[in-house]
Structure formats: C-alpha cells, structure tokens
C-alpha cells in the first residue's frame, strides 16, 4: 500500500503521461472487474440502491479503446463488454450482488511488417460481493449512508482460448484464471437536487499460470446533479441528472513466475462526464471515461477512452 501511495505522489508530480507496454493485462483485467464490482454512479456498482426482497438489474455495454503505442508494434486494443449486474436486498441494510461480464477483445499488432489481429470472446469472470449499510442518517429529502463491502472474483471465465497462431495472450482472454478478493467502503449523500457518492476499494489479486496481477487501490467519486425537472411539484417524476465522476486507480507491479514485471502497474486517473435518466422502475445512463493522467511503469499501453451505456431495472 505504501508503494502505491508513493507511486501516486510521484505520478502527480508528472504532467506528461508515459506510455507503457507490459502493464496492459492487469489494467485490462481490473477495468473489466472494476466495472463489474463497482457502480448508482455509472462507473461503479457498490452504491446501487436495493430494498429488502427487491432485485435490481443493471446492464452496461462498455467499449474500452486503448492505443497510442509508442513502439514499432503499433498495438491497438479494443474490448467490448456486456456487463450484467444483479443485486438483491436480503434486508434493508444487507445486499448481495453478482456481476457477470461477456467480453469480446481484440488486439492488433504489427510483426515484421505484417498486421496480425488476435481476438477472444466469451463469458468473463463472475464477481460476487456483499454490502452492509453500517451508518444511515435520514432527513426530509436527504440521506447519508456509509457501507463497507467485500467480495471475490472467481476464475470462471475461459483463460486458455487459442486461435490459429496458438494460445491467445492473457490480455485477450475472456477470463483471468485467478481468484481475487476485494473490499472497501462506499458512502452516499443524496438530496432531491443532487447525489454524491464516493468509494475507496482495494483488490488483492491471486495468481494463475505463474502470473499475478498487481494489487490495486482505487478511489472513486461521483456527482449527480438534477437538471430536469427544475422544480418538483409532486408525485414521482423522472429525473434527468448530469453526472461527473472521477476514478483514480493505483496498481502495483505484476509478478511473472515470482519475478517483478517492471513494465507493469502505475496510476490512471479518469474523469467521466455522463447523463442519467431516472424513473421509479428504470434508469438509462451513459458516460464517457476520459483518461486525464496515465503514469504507467515501463511501456504499458494507455487507455484512449471508455464509453459506457446501459440501463437499470427494479423488480
């Protein structure tokens, strides 16, 4: 953790992000899993509201584009994923969530002047987590909640897919092959006019086939401000929110066969503007994640952008 914090301080001193190479896999895994494990905000799931004996279903479609390869390989990576999240309220305070991604990843690379594309798709790793609302302060038209959460990601996705060229690189496999544990705390302050959510999370990654992704620390924040209706008159109208989210991701270096991969890990900071239309049964949402700082170790491939769009439904 101290290493991560030092990396953060070091990263903040730099104004120009550095491109990288081998830190791609853990970041991609994390981005896939973090979308899975976190989001009422658009980019994390832990603040999703769900009442006792009620289900909430969220479906998000995510495009994750990476590129700007400074090397001669001209790497270009695109990952499409359909992230399904199902939450259930066991009590008014305790909720369980499951996340299942379906992914399609492609990696373009130039070898000896010839363009090659590797592609993998299928169900990814499933994540399960629980959230308990430890503190709740309600007032007229407002609420404050603080809730710890904890869970794990199971190695359910395929991680040995291959194509005509042989076994696919790990960055294109639908699953990671590792079991990972994660936990953290999420807080929500909501009024009729706006909502603020913040999350601090830590993920300890397991290993599979000699590879262990670096552990990760993330700090997320989300502001949702009601644009429409300007004035509330009665009943339960639909709300249109403008959204601004911030995601700070810090990752330790990976280990390959018990050796540190110096070209992995680092810091990423995204700002995410978005829109949400919220009714009593369903929500439509979309957002664009823009990398502001990418201070990566070695030569990892940077994110270009992420686009998210989807819906939620209560039942």
């Amino acid at each position: 953790m101290r290493v991560l914090l030092c990396d953060l301080l070091r990263g903040m001193k730099k104004t120009m992000p550095r491109p990288g190479k081998n830190g791609l896999l853990p970041v991609l895994l994390w981005l896939a899993a973090s979308a899975a494990t976190q989001s009422a905000p658009i980019t994390f799931n832990t603040a999703l509201p769900v009442a006792k004996s009620e289900f909430v279903f969220r479906q998000q479609f995510i495009v994750n584009q990476s590129g700007h390869d400074p090397g001669t390989a001209g790497r270009d990576r695109t990952a499409w994923s359909a992230m399904s999240v199902l939450g259930y309220g066991i009590t008014g305070k305790l909720a369980l969530f499951g996340v299942l991604p379906y992914v399609n990843k492609s990696l373009g690379i130039t070898v000896d002047g010839k363009r090659i594309e590797r592609q993998g798709d299928g169900l990814g790793d499933i994540s399960l987590f629980a959230r308990y609302t430890a503190l709740q302060k309600d007032g007229p038209g407002r609420t404050l909640r603080i809730a710890p959460f904890a869970g794990f990601k199971a190695a359910t996705g395929r991680h040995d897919s291959s194509d005509d060229l042989g076994r696919l690189p790990a960055s294109v496999q639908p699953g990671s092959g590792s079991w990972d544990a994660f936990g953290g705390i999420v807080t929500t302050y909501q009024t009729l006019d706006y909502e603020i959510d913040a999350q601090l999370g830590y993920r300890g990654n397991g290993s599979a086939q000699g590879f262990s992704a670096g552990n990760q620390l993330r700090l997320d924040a989300s502001l949702q401000y009601r644009l429409w209706p300007g004035t509330l008159t009665g009943a339960v109208p639909g709300f249109l929110y403008c959204v601004l989210e911030s995601s700070l991701l810090l990752q330790e270096k990976n280990h390959v066969n018990d050796r540190v991969d110096v070209n992995s890990g680092g810091i990423r900071w995204f700002l995410t503007p978005g829109l949400q239309y919220v009714t009593r049964r369903w929500v439509l949402e979309t957002a664009l994640q823009i990398p502001v700082v990418q201070d990566l170790n070695g030569t990892a491939l940077e994110n270009a952008y992420l686009v998210r769009a989807g819906f939620r439904y209560n039942f």
Binding site: P49, T91, Q136, D138, T143, Q190, L192, V236, F239
Partner: protein, 105 residues
Amino acid sequence: MRKTTVLPIFLIFILTLASAHAGENVYTLQVDGLACPFCSYGIEKQLRSLQGVADIEVDINEGSVKVTMQQSASLDEKQARQAVQDAGFTLRSFARHEEDDAAPR
C-alpha cells in the same frame, strides 16, 4: 309484522353503507431519506406487500406516502414503520384520516 321486518333491514343497510364509507382509511406516512425516483419503488413494493393495501401514492417532493386501505382494513403503525425500514428509509410520522378528510375542499 311487516313493520318489524323492514326496520332491521333498513338499519342493516344504513350501517353497511356507513361502515363501507368509513372503511376507506387513508394514511399519510412522512418518510425521511426519500430523495430519488428510483428509491420510491422500494417503498411502494414493501407497502403493497401488506395485507389490505388498495393504493399507494408517493410524493417525492414532500417525502410523503399516501396509503389507501381496502374496506375495513387498517394499517398498523408498527407494520408501516417496518415496511419503510425494509425499503431502506426512516418513518418520521404516521397519520390516519378518512377519505373525506383527505379530499380537497
């Protein structure tokens, strides 16, 4: 003989009408923490699961939930408090009034 038969029937009719009218109980719950449309569904669902509930109207701006009960059914404050809590909110106040009282004048 005829007079003594008609009178009880008339009384029963009047009493039935009266009880039917009085049975339309309406309750107003003031709920703290209710701050978005998506959250209001949870409270509706919890209250609808209670026996005898005929209709629910949520006013998110006022933080109020109007619960109309079926004829001769009543809503217990303890039940209402539990339903609101299960939905993830806090019941601030509970008031019962008859339909005529709730109608605008």
